[in-house]
């Protein structure tokens, strides 16, 4: 299936080549869960602080069970803040 992954701030270095500024379209196996996707990039739980699927936050404890579906957009930030 086709999904997209977005890496922001200091995680931009993990972006696979091709695609737009923050975003890459990916072909993944149907039924892939969120945590295994993150693990593919060797990003630690501390680094993957804010993880959104389609703009909805997914807490660390729910990432292993979260099954991705076609056209999902996964966005990941390290710990950041501002104001």
């Amino acid at each position: 299936m086709k999904i997209a992954i977005e890496f922001y701030a200091s995680l931009m270095k993990y972006l696979p080549p091709g695609g737009k500024r923050f975003r890459r379209d990916l072909k993944v196996d149907d039924g892939l869960q969120l945590q295994p996707l993150i693990d593919q990039y060797n990003i630690s739980a501390e680094e993957a602080h804010i993880v959104l699927v389609n703009g909805h936050f997914v807490a660390l404890e729910n990432r292993a069970d979260r099954v991705l579906v076609e056209n999902d957009v996964v966005s990941i930030w390290p710990p950041v803040a501002g104001g």
Binding site: S10, R21, H49, H56, W77, P79, G82, G83
Partner: protein
């Protein structure tokens, strides 16, 4: 100690400068800066006075930690009754001015009365005098800074001043110090202008040598600095990306208001984000971001120093904007950009430079222009009103043009200087002003983020994120994640953030430390520096006392529970698309509970019992 225990009282009517002892009983109840100066204001100023009359006072105040080696301890605040809102106003600024004031030996300056001609205050340690300021009246804050530095030939002199917008009567003018740091919100600079006070110059060589317990002070401040350095946000995220890192986050979670809050979500957000600021420009190959910079004493260094492409239409043939200066922070980038529908980073940076150069609040300004744009598109405002400018959402040329008008108060610039509440009233569309108590919202949409809506509604200085930054928890997961669309637990969260923030603002520290520090990091630093009991519990009680004192001032000024409200658009017009589609703010679910845990009556008034508990 580490208060200097000295107040400089400047009577602008009489032209006198006198020194008086700091009220130490109050210092122990209100700490310093925001809290202590607000105490003086509430004791000395009639809450019902006209903010721009001689009756109002303006206080520049430092905290007990200001000027010490604690990280970020360089802050000062400007406290007055604000002209935009009529509520108590307290605007906080970094840079170097606050610490220098402390080194000169002063905890605060109370300005009262009104001068009959332009003056500036010159402070050299103990010596303070009012000087003729007619030659700097009419100059920008940058020009004023240059002229005064040349006069005294002392690069170490620090200057806080107003720009031309304040003189022109813009109701949201700020006080600019060190050229690009601002006590920006609520029109504190307008009050300064109303007193005919153009600038305060300060040079302090006395230093601070009265730390109560130096050993434990260094122990706690060193520990605090280590926490900041090791924390991913304060040690890495903020120095590298600054506050602007939020642009994509808030847009991503469906919390970024756009087009005068008509919409949520802005397609151009990524073009004006921190990541975009760091990219080489297509035009000249240089990034917008030149470096990060710290305020006095700050070991985080989140400040953005930016440059604009010299060939960009906004600065072409204007070499004074070809150098580096204070760049976009998140709130400014949102208000000037997303809210007006503009994603031209160079143009926004130029307008941001103008905010610094002439001293006006980018949040209120951007929101006011956004309201004007919506009225323009509705036909309530026409090119006849704007002097021919097609003020449409997304029109960058129009935006730059009206900004330049605002600076001098010419033509439509005069109208924009009113702020959105008065502007929308003037043009018959009061419902298009996105404000609480007359002050414009910052960059987080309360429909998609419930707690921040409650904080906006109850903020004592009108809509403000810096009174209780619940975004930290609701979006960023600091210190713990709460669900952004839930209302459960939000009254407690808002109260806790509001009280803690009052402590930080009163100590002389920067609120950004709280991304890594809890009160158990902060209280020991205050306790070591200052005489008296500054345990965590007492600090939080002081914070709660400050919050209630501010509330009581506003109550006496005529504000009621009816002013603790959000705009109809935020309560009734559901978000049309994106992750927060269908959401409205559910203030009604949170406000009664908030009053209850604050110890206030259902009418939002602190009860006698609460006032007694807090010695108010």
């Amino acid at each position: 100690m580490s208060w200097t225990r000295k107040i400089l009282r400047v009577n602008l009517t009489k032209g006198s400068c006198t020194s008086e002892a700091l009220n130490m009983d109050w210092a122990k109840e209100y700490l310093g800066q925001r809290g202590l100066a607000s105490k003086y204001l509430t004791e000395e100023v009639d809450p019902k006075c006209d903010p721009l009359s001689a009756e109002n006072k303006m206080i520049m105040a430092t905290g007990p930690l200001t000027g010490t080696m604690a990280s970020t301890a360089g802050r000062y605040s400007v406290i007055t009754k604000g002209p935009l809102t009529g509520a108590i106003a307290c605007s906080n600024s970094g840079g170097y001015f606050g610490a220098e004031l402390k080194f000169a030996g002063w905890d605060m300056i109370i300005f009262e009365g009104k001068s009959d001609k332009p003056v500036y205050l010159n402070i050299q340690d103990d010596k303070a005098e009012l000087c003729d300021g007619s030659h700097i009246w009419g100059k920008s804050a940058w020009e004023t800074d240059d002229i005064l530095h040349a006069t005294y030939q002392d690069p170490q002199m620090r200057i806080a001043c107003i720009g031309r917008t304040a003189e022109a009567g813009c109701l949201y003018a700020g006080v600019i110090n060190d050229k690009h740091r601002a006590a920006g919100r609520s029109g504190v600079g307008t009050v300064m202008a109303s007193k005919n006070l153009k600038a305060v110059t300060v040079r302090g060589t006395q230093g601070i040598g009265n730390i109560d317990n130096a050993d434990s002070f260094f122990e706690s401040t060193d520990a605090g600095k280590a926490v900041l350095a090791e924390n991913a946000v304060t040690g890495q995220g903020l120095p590298a990306f600054g506050t602007q890192v939020l642009m994509n986050v808030i847009n991503g979670v469906g919390g970024l208001p756009a087009h005068n809050m008509r919409d949520v979500g802005f397609a151009g957000a990524e073009n004006i984000s921190a990541e975009a600021m760091a990219e080489p420009r297509k035009s000249d190959g240089k990034p917008n971001l030149t470096t990060n910079a710290a305020c006095f004493g700050c070991t985080i260094a989140c400040g953005r120093i930016s440059t604009i492409d010299k060939t960009h239409f906004s600065v072409k043939d204007k070499p004074q904007y070809h150098g580096a200066s204070g760049g976009l922070e998140y709130e400014a980038a949102w208000a000037l950009g997303a809210d007006t529908g503009i994603d031209d980073l160079d143009a926004l940076t130029y307008v941001n430079f103008l905010c610094n150069e002439d001293g006006f609040d980018p949040i209120t300004f951007g929101s006011t222009v956004a309201a004007a744009m919506e009225m323009f598109e509705d036909g309530a405002i026409t090119t006849e009103d704007t002097g021919g400018i097609e003020l449409k959402f997304g029109s960058v040329e129009a935006f730059v043009a009206v900004t330049e008008l605002l600076v001098t108060g010419e033509g439509f610039g005069k109208d924009l200087g009113l702020g959105s509440k008065r502007l929308c009233e003037k043009y018959g569309r009061p419902e298009l002003s996105m404000t609480v108590k007359g002050q414009e919202f910052p960059a987080y949409d309360p429909r998609g983020i419930q707690g921040i809506g409650l904080n906006y509604a109850t903020s004592n200085r009108g809509a403000c994120h810096l009174r209780g930054y619940t975004i930290a928890s609701e979006i960023l997961g600091i210190p713990v994640k709460t669900e952004q669309t839930d209302t459960d637990g939000k009254p407690e969260l808002v109260k806790a953030f509001q009280d803690a923030t009052a402590v930080v603002d009163s100590a002389g520290l920067c609120i950004f430390t709280t991304f890594a520090w809890g009160m158990d990091n902060i209280a020991p630093q205050i306790d070591a520096a200052c005489e008296g009991d500054w345990s965590v519990d007492n600090c939080l009680e002081v914070g709660e006392r400050i919050w209630n004192m501010e509330r009581l001032f506003n109550q006496a000024a005529g504000f009621t529970a009816n002013d603790d409200k959000l705009h109809k658009r935020l309560l009734e017009e559901a978000i049309k698309s994106g992750p927060t589609e269908g959401q409205v703010n559910r203030l009604g679910e949170m406000l009664p509970k908030y009053y209850e845990i604050r110890g206030w009556s259902p009418e939002g008034e602190p009860t006698a019992e609460t006032r007694q508990r807090l010695s108010l």
